[in-house]
Symmetry: C2
Subunit: 335 residues, 2 copies
Amino acid sequence: MITQKDTSIACGVSLATVSKALSGQTDIGEDTAQHIRDTAKAMGYLPNAAARALKTNRSHNIGVLFEDKTSSGLRHEYFSEILQCIKTEAERLGYDITFISRNLGNMSMTYYEHAKYRNCDGVVIASVDFRHPDVIQLVESNLPTVTLDYVFDSRTAIMSDNISGMIEIVEYVYKKGHRKIAFIHGEDTSVTQKRLASFRSTCARLGVNVPDEYVKSAIFHDPRSSGLATRELLALNDRPTCILYPDDFSFIGGMNEIEQQGLSIPNDISAVGYDGILLSQVLRPRLATYRQDAVTMGVKAAESIVDIIEHPLTSLPVQIMVPGQLWEGETVKQL
Amino acid sequence: MITQKDTSIACGVSLATVSKALSGQTDIGEDTAQHIRDTAKAMGYLPNAAARALKTNRSHNIGVLFEDKTSSGLRHEYFSEILQCIKTEAERLGYDITFISRNLGNMSMTYYEHAKYRNCDGVVIASVDFRHPDVIQLVESNLPTVTLDYVFDSRTAIMSDNISGMIEIVEYVYKKGHRKIAFIHGEDTSVTQKRLASFRSTCARLGVNVPDEYVKSAIFHDPRSSGLATRELLALNDRPTCILYPDDFSFIGGMNEIEQQGLSIPNDISAVGYDGILLSQVLRPRLATYRQDAVTMGVKAAESIVDIIEHPLTSLPVQIMVPGQLWEGETVKQL
DNA sequence: TTGTATGCGTTATCAT
DNA sequence: ATGATAACGCATACAA
């Protein structure tokens, strides 16, 4: 491995001069500096991130938290897309991405300890149980953090606008003439609470009555549970004309149930998903859904964490609302 | 930040003693060692990965290559599942995962340079253009590497068994009475070549004639192109009774096309996917497919790279074949 | 069993 | 404009 020392010998200058030349300091003669850079390149010099981190206490490494739970892990396209975008944007800004977990080999550690151990400059908390003590410890630590779809006091959060999303969906469905609107929601998370509240308040504002039987609980990204909820809805005496699903993928479960009962979408039952994953747009009829802008979420997350890292004094904790977009699709019938 | 030095002062012993006690050396008195460990824990000592890496030249960090291309990036569940499993298994073995890319900030670097810069102990090459010079440089370097679904000479590779997969699919379809079997394959990659060769040879062995028009080219993970290919197949005078798709997700494109023409699956046209992603099992009828064992792929990849890292002298380059499994589903009709 | 000393590769301070 | 030197935190060869 070629080091600065090797380069300094080859150039006949001191180690300090090499270091300065390579890091672009201005107090080195332009010709000397250029010669050093050329030589270093020719020799195949590569900086050593570990040495640099040890000395500067900055690793240019961002930790990311992605828990591997069924309903939220990387198999969910919304999250894998966000990860992809965090990665790309962070790299553009000069940072690498390392996964942070709670055990490494036989030593079990908290997220905070893991992040510290790896000298992470900051952590993006994307998909976890935000109420877990270890997450709270991390957020309350001195490490810069950014959360996605969950707000901690005095911390920056990137929020997909679930309130507006649900408003737009309900208003759209209402405009199409639907007055019997059912909502199958995901498990009890912050996101679910927002969507549910928004669903109820929007319906109330529009004068749409929502009987208790029209609100069903299911599990995110789990077509089976949404299928069961759909079955219950279809069995009601006064069944809904439109069903809102927890997410696009879960809609598949409802779709199967509806078709199996000899009903057709949207002629007999209308349906709306959530997320705007690829699947929603290749189904026929195209699924009505609310596209969450995962790209912007990821980019903003990366930008924010880097901003906090690089400007700790001037950066303020903010909640960044990322608007989505209603994709009307073809699964909501005009009544 | 609490260091070993802080701990040594608190314990009234030397720095070396602390280091040994914490790393479990045997040449320290049991009581002393225990006291040091307790104190370190109480003080909140955390090891510093950068310092350790600098000293030992081992980072306990594994680089992974996942290119963000449409047809293979993290949005493809097969790959995101593999990544998930590599991550989990590597962490179990005491290694962290860092993404390796080709540019960091303004400096553009090769994969090899990036991996070296981050002191990666090894690299898992999962989803890239394997013919790219930078990938070849990496593989031919002194860095331990493991590839997925592509073989380099004298290097360990984890291979999903595409040959057997296609054999099983064709034999299954044949057994169901089909003699007019079409194959829509993905873009020209190593995987496609294997599947295509296996498709042709198996058909030949079974005495199934495959006219040229029955072999169509499409793009992985792209329902649109598979839909177009399907349309062409359906328009043939002597159209196939069964269509094999590049992957489960692409099947959606075919499904739409078939249904749009008023045909039904499997009554009029049978279909088989590839991958065994979640989607395939929630569709109705359940899609016949060949499940690629992404879990084992990921676990083996992590195990292999760690083995090469930790036993460089005794570990041999091997090709590990990971068998998949035919999932019969309900989309192949008995003729 | 414990301690001393050195160096990993880099940056940064202070001389020159 | 350039160089000598110390320090970051840790592991280890060697001395005691």
